[in-house]
């Protein structure tokens, strides 16, 4: 009976967190879309396509947050061999890969319009592609890897992938701006209008909130799969 009550309590708590997470993420996304399409003016040089920026950067920040969770989960797993740490790392790696893909593809579509090329072999784009490939490998390993050794292998690969993030962030400084297409907007305070900054904050918060909500859902799925 006590066990049943405990399960019921856990189920109710999970449902409550589900509802709260969904409400926060959904309203944040709606508010960000309102800011991007109803408040922010057209950018002078690029026109409407510049509106990809707010969710492109938001998705990049969300994937960095996910990979931060992978790093913490991996370190904790190697220290304690905790099954939960492995589950959290795996969930964050999967969600982070989705946001990484969104950043890459939305950037390519925007780049095709603004730079007239889908991709260019310059530091920021190449290091981000490297990050994407590492986490593609991370997800393939977790899907098809040897169950007995999966925990350690996944933790090590996750940590390796996560420490690539600072390389991606600072890669923009490897070459002068004149030698690369990808701009250094935020670092150079390049947003000319206050509404641009507000929309960027809204888009980033929305994507990060959505990312944490999805990691939570993916962890719940992992726990339920373990119980079966």
């Amino acid at each position: 009976m006590e066990k049943f009550k405990e399960t019921l309590r856990k189920g109710a708590l999970a449902a409550w967190v589900d509802g709260l997470g969904f409400a926060v993420a959904f309203s944040a996304v709606l508010f960000a879309l309102y800011m991007v399409f109803m408040v922010v003016p057209n950018e002078r040089v690029m026109g409407p396509v510049q509106r990809i920026f707010y969710f492109h950067v938001g998705a990049a920040v969300a994937c960095y947050c996910s990979f931060g969770v992978v790093l913490l989960g991996g370190i904790y797993y190697l220290a304690t061999r905790s099954a939960i740490a492995h589950l959290v790392g795996r969930a964050a790696g999967e969600v982070g890969f989705i946001f990484c893909s969104i950043t890459l593809v939305s950037g390519m579509i925007w780049g095709h319009s603004a730079w007239n090329t889908w991709f260019r072999w310059e530091p920021r784009l190449v290091t981000f592609l490297l990050l994407w490939v590492i986490f593609l490998g991370f997800n393939l390993l977790n899907e098809f890897g040897d169950e007995e050794r999966l925990g350690v292998q996944s933790a090590v690969l996750g940590i390796l992938g996560a420490i690539t993030v600072p390389l991606v962030v600072y890669s923009i400084q490897f070459l002068p701006q004149s030698a690369q297409l990808h701009p250094q907007v935020v670092g150079n305070r390049g947003l000319k209008d206050a509404s641009f900054e507000a929309a960027l904050a809204a888009g980033t918060f929305a994507m990060v909130a959505l990312q944490f909500f999805l990691v939570w859902l993916r962890v719940r799925i992992g726990l339920l799969e373990k119980e079966r």
Binding site: V45, G47, V49, I52, H56, I102, V105, S106, L214
Partner: protein, 37 residues
């Protein structure tokens, strides 16, 4: 004149929300199936 780059904006947002939407729906179905078992 502001350049007409609306088609690229449309495809950019279509990719972002189709990818995210498909992933969210797949998570929802998986969660519901597991909770029913």
């Amino acid at each position: 004149t502001v350049p007409d780059t609306f088609p690229s904006l449309f495809w950019g947002y279509a990719v972002i929300w189709c990818l995210l939407g498909a992933y969210i729906v797949s998570l929802g179905f998986r969660l519901r199936r597991l909770e029913r078992k």
